[in-house]
């Protein structure tokens, strides 16, 4: 049913710490590993060893360089997957009811047995969280590993999404944002958590922690170091080895 639930009992989601992420892509790889044989798999993987591979990923790792006057540049690795929005536009546009948001935990899913592959949901999502499976003719997306986090046959500490359990840096946290005492709610409250694209009015559940601000003296030393390195490089390029 494409009506959004008035309120979900839980708001399960991810808190991603951009200050910690090292951009190793392990989360994306483990996501594909788990989900390709998961409830909404297989995940398309066309010509994986050819010259033009393409396929579906529920999680992709972008990276950006930030430049600001008077500060040393920053590299920010930016993993992006479905944000399981409270006001998910991808759900309400669906003409068949394949796209849904669960009232018990807020997870946004696509029912592959009902999807007609009209792709409208992927156009409605501002974040590019949905990718189309050309083989199956249906839309696919992050399931928050719904087939792992509730699996009673695995030890309780492993019942987290694959991207979270595999992150070697500890940049990804999983929990219930509706519970103010949860790990993710506390981390979000203590660390200036951000919504992606607030103008889109989607109320994303997933939150991102920004890179930490550097202390003034650290910033100054860093700018100084960068400038020195730049000067040294220019001198070397001119084969000038004086003082």
């Amino acid at each position: 049913m494409t009506c959004l639930p008035e309120k979900t009992d839980k708001k399960l989601g991810l808190l991603i710490d951009l200050n910690v992420c090292v951009g190793c892509h392990a989360c994306a790889v483990n996501c594909k590993e788990w989900n390709t044989s998961g409830i909404t798999g297989p995940m398309e993987d066309l010509k994986p060893y050819g010259d033009d591979p393409s396929g579906v990923w529920y999680n992709r790792i972008h990276s950006y360089e930030f430049k600001k006057e008077g500060e040393a540049d920053r590299t920010v690795y930016f993993p992006k997957s479905c944000l399981h929005c409270e006001d998910a536009p991808c759900v309400t546009v669906c003409p068949t009811g394949a796209s849904l948001k669960r009232s018990e935990d807020g997870i946004v899913l696509v029912n592959p047995d009902v999807c007609i592959g009209c792709k409208l949901c992927s156009w409605a999502c501002p974040y590019g969280a949905r990718e189309y499976d050309t083989t199956g003719g249906v839309m696919q997306k992050c399931t928050l590993c719904v087939d792992k986090i509730y699996d009673a046959s695995i030890p309780e500490e492993r019942r987290v999404p694959s991207c979270v359990s595999t992150c070697p840096a500890g940049a990804r946290h999983f929990g219930d944002f509706a519970d103010p005492e949860s790990n993710v709610s506390k981390l979000a409250a203590e660390n200036d958590a951000r919504d992606l694209f607030p103008e889109m009015e989607t109320k994303p559940v997933n939150q991102y922690l920004p890179p930490r601000k550097r202390e003034k003296h650290v910033e100054r030393a860093l700018v100084h170091k960068v400038n020195n390195a730049k000067d040294a490089l220019i001198k070397w390029a001119k084969l000038d080895f004086t003082g």
Partner: protein, 256 residues
């Protein structure tokens, strides 16, 4: 004629689906989905059109019912167009669609081109109305483009990333080596020269030339309809080509 056009439109709409055999399911979510509402309204509008057509061809002699059925048919057509326009206008992620001009435009382009089709099937007696409609369509189309062009650049990559206080962001290492679904589907780059050419074709052939030809009483109405059709196809092409999606902020665009 409208019966055939609606039927062709509905059938071809299933052709672009990944699973066309499940298209019937699209009638189920009218409570939230404009796409679902469009399908339902289009099918409902069949009723009165079929009645009028059947009455005429089978000579049923139910003449008193034709006028109310025609009113129902018109209301159905207007409602269907409204639901169609709302499919696009409801998508916030595409600023070129998320505005009232899209909704107004759908009605007025349909009325104008419908007027041209009416002249073609023998309705010359009211051709002045069609000319006024074509002029209205022209004005709305230009207003739409002014709106689109003036509202570019409202959304930034920094906002998309939730990091507006770290200076300017530009892509560093790409997230993937080859284009993915998102870039293939939403990454069309319209070059400015082509935009200009297509805009002139849309205005010139869609509205200006048909209005002029009707004004001077050009005798071959089917030719006028054909010219109008070509112009409107350019207009439709632009509608999609100019639909820049904000997901591009994560890729190649600084602002949209």
């Amino acid at each position: 004629m409208s019966f055939v056009l609606v039927a062709v439109g509905l059938l071809s709409s299933t052709a672009h689906l990944g699973r066309p055999e499940r298209a019937w399911r699209a009638f189920s979510q009218w409570r939230t989905s404009w796409l679902s509402r469009e399908g339902i309204m289009a099918v409902l509008t069949f009723g009165p059109i079929m009645f009028i057509g059947g009455n005429a061809y089978l000579d049923l002699g139910l003449r008193s019912m034709v006028a109310p059925m025609a009113v129902l048919g018109i209301l159905g057509a207007v409602a269907t167009l409204f639901t169609t326009s709302m499919i696009y206008a409801s998508i916030r992620a595409i600023p070129a669609w998320h505005n009232k001009w899209v909704v107004v435009g759908y009605q007025v382009y349909a009325l104008a081109s419908g007027g041209v089709a009416y002249v073609m099937v023998g309705g010359w007696q009211h051709y002045q109305i069609t000319i006024y409609l074509l002029i209205a369509a022209l004005v709305v189309k230009i207003a739409t483009w002014i709106h689109i062009d003036r509202n570019r650049g409202k959304y930034t990559r920094e906002s998309a990333l939730g990091l507006t206080d770290f200076g300017k962001a530009k892509p560093f290492e790409p997230a993937h080596g080859q284009k993915n679904y998102l870039q293939r589907e939403m990454g069309y780059e319209l070059n400015p020269t082509r935009r200009m050419v297509m805009r002139w074709i849309a205005l010139g052939l869609g509205f200006i030339l048909p209005a002029y030809l009707l004004y001077v009483g050009f005798p071959l109405a089917p030719i006028v309809a054909l010219i109008c059709l070509v112009g409107l196809m350019a207009e439709r092409w632009l509608f999609f080509a100019e639909a820049e999606h904000v997901v591009r902020l994560y890729y190649d665009r600084d602002e949209i």
